[in-house]
Symmetry: C2
Subunit: 488 residues, 2 copies
Amino acid sequence: MATTGTRSVFLGTFIHCTTLETMEYLHETAVFVDEKGVIVELEQGCDLKTAEDTVFPRLGWEKGDVVVRVGGAGSFFFPGFIDTHIHAPQYPNAGIFGKTTLLDWLEKYTFPMESSLSDLSRARRVYTRCVKRTLSHGTTTASYYATIHVPTTNLLADLCLDLGQRAFIGRCCMDSELSPASYRDESAQQSIAATKATISHIASIDPANALLTPILTPRFAPSCSRELLASLGDLHRETNLPIQTHLSENASELALVRSLFPELPDYTTVYDRFGLLTPKTILAHAIHLSDDEVRLVKARQGKISHCPCSNSSITSGTCKVRNLLDSGLDVGLGTDMSGGYSPSILEAVRQASLVSRHVAMAGDDHAKLSIEEVLYLGTRGGARVVNLSETIGGFGVGMDFDAQLISLGPDQGREEEEEEEEEEEEEEEEAVEEVVVVEVDEGSEEGPVDIFGWESWEEKVAKWVYNGDDRNTRAVWVKGRLVHEVTR
Amino acid sequence: MATTGTRSVFLGTFIHCTTLETMEYLHETAVFVDEKGVIVELEQGCDLKTAEDTVFPRLGWEKGDVVVRVGGAGSFFFPGFIDTHIHAPQYPNAGIFGKTTLLDWLEKYTFPMESSLSDLSRARRVYTRCVKRTLSHGTTTASYYATIHVPTTNLLADLCLDLGQRAFIGRCCMDSELSPASYRDESAQQSIAATKATISHIASIDPANALLTPILTPRFAPSCSRELLASLGDLHRETNLPIQTHLSENASELALVRSLFPELPDYTTVYDRFGLLTPKTILAHAIHLSDDEVRLVKARQGKISHCPCSNSSITSGTCKVRNLLDSGLDVGLGTDMSGGYSPSILEAVRQASLVSRHVAMAGDDHAKLSIEEVLYLGTRGGARVVNLSETIGGFGVGMDFDAQLISLGPDQGREEEEEEEEEEEEEEEEAVEEVVVVEVDEGSEEGPVDIFGWESWEEKVAKWVYNGDDRNTRAVWVKGRLVHEVTR
């Protein structure tokens, strides 16, 4: 089911990024979502009565048919996060990487885990948890790498459709000897045939690509024969399907690519030469690009998935995001789990901020990314990277309602009440301790952020970015469908 | 109340750091804690029956008098965290720092917030939340900076005693014109008198220093007149009280110190010259030390509080922790909230790992810290920094029971059951979705980490370090007293 079949109106504060530098705060706003999950009206200064009396008639809606969802005081609706690079089969390894770097990390942790996901029962368990976990973190769209296995890759597609997550599903293409014999495609032809099998499966379960899109996934240049790269380039030209791969992550990888493709000037050109660098290509990492490579990506309108958690944890390098943005490239965020340790794009948002500060500390003060900028990367930026900027990443008429309801804990009203109580009870000293207990129990139930009531909205958002987590993500919708809710 | 008055036995898995590089995993272990909160016996291979039949008689304990706490399957006891550097009054600003660096951050965010904490009602609210919040993150010992205000600094001491957190309480000493006229000590004499007032208060509420110790707190060299620095050096010699301050955090600060103390060779020597660099001195940050300064700190046996969250967020620099450790310095972790955005030492543990990787990426591969090493810094290392290494930071006979019970979610047994259920229900396809729902609800109740059942204990700890949070910290004890518990 890709549509809710019901009409909804969402009331409260809506916050989204309008440009890289600016966020818009829409208070007392009503967003009207039709039965296909599309926003058909967005009204500021609109309460439920106005919505019902004025907007419903205009839309031809009847009261009884419309689901009403009110964001409470202190909470706000925010666009769903877009994870432009995530490996679903690596979820059980999240946080497990020791002191490895890319190539030994692949060998020690990643290939064995991915290989084991040929097992349907194991894959069901891992993929179900992965999709539900990322939904709970507010990821409404994910660009997944699966494994080489067709049945379990198809299962991942099934699960995303069932659980309601918008997803790009990539069967990993990898036929070179970099991977162990037990975990690689037998040949370029077999790799293409298997890829087509997943494409067909997705066409059969979601023919309109309402939620699911197959994505061509040459794992990375060293994993693929020239024949496979060329065939995938052909397949892209035939199908116009999107492409995802890795680019310029790690020094040893760069040396490997140079040795494998000695006739080509650089890593980026490898993909370009085989017809794999296009406006529909998502390039993960792009840490060590030369100026020529940046220009080539720009010329081809390729997209960048910045994966700060991964780049720090497996010490790949610090991506110069500001340079990429200044060069006019589209940049989104990826968890790159489990190179990245976390399934959460909010954590990627936070680490994008911190990594940009590491770039600044290395001498480029201009590199620092603001709260607005890192949230843009996680929403609008990601939407551009997956070529859905008209549809997701913000709130606007004609866009799909992919959103999360964020609550930061006790609202101002309750805070003020408590304060009054406290002031009263400071008179009678013995009672003070009781009040204190109530306060904290509420806090810990509500989540990891403490709001004192005097914060501006900008400060509330900063507190969410730096200390928030999935406890603050109270509900999540994709195309208007409720796909996650914290019930307690 | 500094003691529980009751005897306890804790049963289950105990994990702690034995050296910088090694952790010990003690399974099926019983830890016996007397009515003063001291570990009197630690027995491996000991269940409740053995404890009662064999150990109780040896200790002269009676069954009915002993509280029994069993850590469930998949959970483990871990030493409480030690936060060697935290500013309690800055808690409401956690996550709010914009693009500032140290000196403008002080002016824009910090001094105004601290100044407002002269208000008793506001201070009660902020400090209560801060202490309860840090306890919920497993911080059993904290070295606090308060503000210049005596009544609210004393209130912080009261609250730590009431709520059961072991704490060093520092009234901020700052009489220079760096701070606004409305928020600084009037003179060196007044600063010393105010400091003595807090020392007296703590002596009156916790005369044995069972939980609380006053700590002399020259904010940092630029905040203090020479007279104040000299008087604090004298006060240290008289009282032998510990000292805490900031050292070598930021380039502008370094330039300021050079301009203020042009006759002295470096920043470290400023403290040394005034008798403030001693074995009882906690130096926060120590990012940009010269080799001479490292040698001087080592010669004086000064201690280092590494604050990775803060150093990255306000772009102070990347501390070369490996160098400090190799030079034989004692290093612990500090949140440095709100220069650091998080009240959690687990977050500091995680960021210490990531920052060490940034140092590695800048060319020193040896700099990378392992899971064992960053957890050591947060426990045993911190204990050495606060000169309590015989008492806290690990499990051993004669040490106090300062501990946290960590649970990572559904235990292996439940996992296996679920797996069996799933396998059964894969036969009947329609039932599958129900099982899945139950699984995730449990997951989100249990916390942010998914354990699949096949992980080694080392891998479980890694998952906790990288994705865990206060939801995993199910209960916390200080000196055997239960000071925090997640009840749901």
